[in-house]
């Protein structure tokens, strides 16, 4: 077995016992990336020299006995909308093709001081707008289980790298499903943490009230390890929650006796592939046999969630992306006739089609005469959805649904039809709208061997119960199934 194949929790033990070095591990992961990248295209940037330097430093840290983190020496991939000092951070956009941050995102600072190794920057949909990585200005990432299929998105590079072994764990960001849906399509575990539990400082904003950074891993424990490292209050993020956090890794044991699981019927009907629904229902039965109690619940406003989501997300995006005007950073168009012309040319040439459409949709719903009909209505719907979840969590501990309505779709199949692409997020957007934590875990495979994912949603800041349920499922269902590459 090669080193890149081990889980982060196994590697952590091997590193601390000095059975292996971080340099050996990093070399193994980089070698794997050499082999897989021509097929997968998960990374936008790999800098072996930098990674090996970080690995050498990690080895020194471990040898000195001063490594306080279990992730010391472990290679982590970073989605390219998370700022890395001195390393280009492009958001997979022409607009930021040459942008090099002068500061680290708080999560990156945390990983660096923990002694992690950055394995590279990962591909994504442009400005995290998309569900397939096809809107990336640079390239489309391929699904490791079938190279003709998308890996999901927007954090498709993160999911594909972890699934194919070119990263041990990775960071992504999730605004409407951008961690969970690619995790589901690539057969790995992905956690969207509670809004406010992980600092957004240094995450290039898409929809600030919904965006959240979170971890990918091949096992539930790996996701817990990475979440332990990145969670916590940050004074640099005004929406970061003031509370104390305990280790998730140490508090999960997979015992779910007495756990109350709610099954919302709205997530198992129209638009959900029957095979996906069945694999989730079968998994719930397994959890029941482990001592969980299962009950039907209803979340009646689910049908409208996608509409509310696209209005809120695009409204915020239209405002957030106003900063890209060719003045202070990023792309600037040539041969401009005055300032306004420079703004317009820069933005028209620098942004891709999907981003422009979302900016215009957001501008439209916020424009004079339409605010009440769209944005206000969407915000009211958001309150209602939040209330419905809160009511449900009065009687259950977790809510289980499919993550994605189908397995991975073919590259090119949906890119020209925005509504069919948006439908990929139908099961995940409600969680962002309500600010809840949710994890996706693999729960079955199609006849072609493509993974299905199950979403476990919890109460605010109850990542522990969410991951504990995921661990019970993983133990019963079996762990990560490596794609043949």
């Amino acid at each position: 077995m090669e080193l890149y194949e081990y889980s982060a929790s196994e590697l952590s033990g091997m590193l601390s016992k000095r059975e292996i070095s971080s340099v050996e591990l990093t070399k193994s992961v980089l070698k794997r990336a050499d082999d897989t990248e021509p097929k997968i295209d998960a990374y936008l940037r790999i800098d072996p020299e930098m990674s090996l330097k970080m690995a050498e430093n990690a080895d020194k840290l471990i040898a000195s006995g001063e490594a306080s983190s279990r992730l010391a020496g472990i290679p982590v991939g970073i989605k390219d909308n998370i700022s890395t000092r001195g390393i280009p951070t492009t958001c997979a956009s022409k607009m930021l093709e040459n942008y090099v941050p002068v500061f680290n995102a708080t999560v990156v600072d945390k990983l660096v001081s923990a002694g992690c190794v950055i394995s590279g920057k990962l591909n994504m949909d442009e400005f995290a707008m998309g569900s397939s990585t096809e809107t990336s200005y640079f390239k489309t990432t391929k699904n490791p289980f079938d190279l003709s299929c998308v890996p999901g998105g927007s954090s498709g590079g993160s999911a594909a790298a972890v699934s194919s072994g070119s990263a041990v764990v990775a960071l992504g960001s999730d605004t409407g499903g951008s961690i969970r849906q690619p995790a589901s399509l690539c057969g790995i575990v992905g956690l969207k943490p509670t809004y406010g539990s992980v600092s957004r400082y240094g995450l290039v904003a898409f929809a600030s009230s919904l965006d959240q950074i979170g971890p990918f891993g091949r096992t539930v424990r790996d996701v817990a390890l990475l979440q332990d490292e990145i969670q916590g209050r940050d004074p640099m993020d005004a929406t970061s929650a003031q509370r104390s956090y305990t280790s998730l890794f140490d508090s999960i044991d997979g015992n779910i006796k007495g756990l109350k699981i709610g099954i919302p019927k709205e997530y198992f009907g129209k638009g959900i592939k029957p095979e996906v629904a069945k694999s989730v229902t079968d998994s719930v039965e397994r959890l029941k046999s482990l001592g969980a109690e299962v009950m039907p619940i209803s979340l009646p406003s689910t049908d409208y969630a996608l509409s509310a989501y696209y209005i809120i997300a695009c409204a915020e995006a239209s405002s957030n992306l106003a900063r890209f005007d060719g003045v202070k950073y990023g792309y600037r168009a040539k041969d401009c006739d005055g300032l306004i012309d420079m703004y317009e040319k820069t933005r028209s040439e620098g942004f891709g089609r999907e981003v422009k459409r979302r900016i215009m949709l957001g501008t439209f719903v916020l424009s004079s005469g339409y605010f009440d009909a769209y944005y206000k209505k969407a915000k009211l719907l958001q309150k209602r959805i939040q209330r419905e979840f809160a009511d449900a969590f009065g009687s259950v501990d977790v809510i289980i649904t499919p993550t994605s309505p189908s397995e991975a779709f073919k590259i090119g199949d949906r890119i020209s039809d925005p509504l069919s692409m948006y439908a990929a997020d139908i099961c995940t957007v409600t969680v962002n709208i309500a600010g809840l934590p949710a994890v996706s875990v693999p729960c079955g495979y199609s006849s072609e061997g493509l993974p299905y994912g199950m979403q476990i949603i919890g109460r605010k800041f109850d990542e522990k119960t969410v991951l504990n349920t995921a661990l019970a499922h993983e133990n019963a269902f079996g762990g990560f199934r490596r794609p043949e590459l």
Partner: protein
């Protein structure tokens, strides 16, 4: 519903070419048709009490980055200032 893409593009500081216009019109119309399915809700919109942002106590403190660092990504600078096209004749 008819959406005036040119007007929206202008508000968004975007230029949309003739070739792109009909594509955007069609897509925007289908998205707006989807969101119009939202039900009427007669509640009052209130400020989210749970997620009130707190003011940072350090909001007057400098960033700690030098002027050169902050300008390192600017497309055009002269003498420590960002250069933009002339705006006033």
């Amino acid at each position: 519903m008819d959406i005036d893409i040119r007007h929206i593009a202008k508000l968004s500081r975007l230029k949309i070419s003739e070739d792109e216009l009909s594509g955007y019109e069609k897509e925007m119309a289908s998205i707006i048709a989807m969101v119009e399915s939202m039900p009427e809700i007669n509640d009052e919109l209130t400020v989210d009490s749970e997620n009130v942002m707190e003011l940072r106590s350090d909001d007057n403190v400098g960033s700690g980055y030098s002027r050169d660092e902050m300008l390192s990504n600017a497309p055009k600078t002269v003498a420590g200032c960002v250069v933009v096209p002339k705006t006033v004749d």
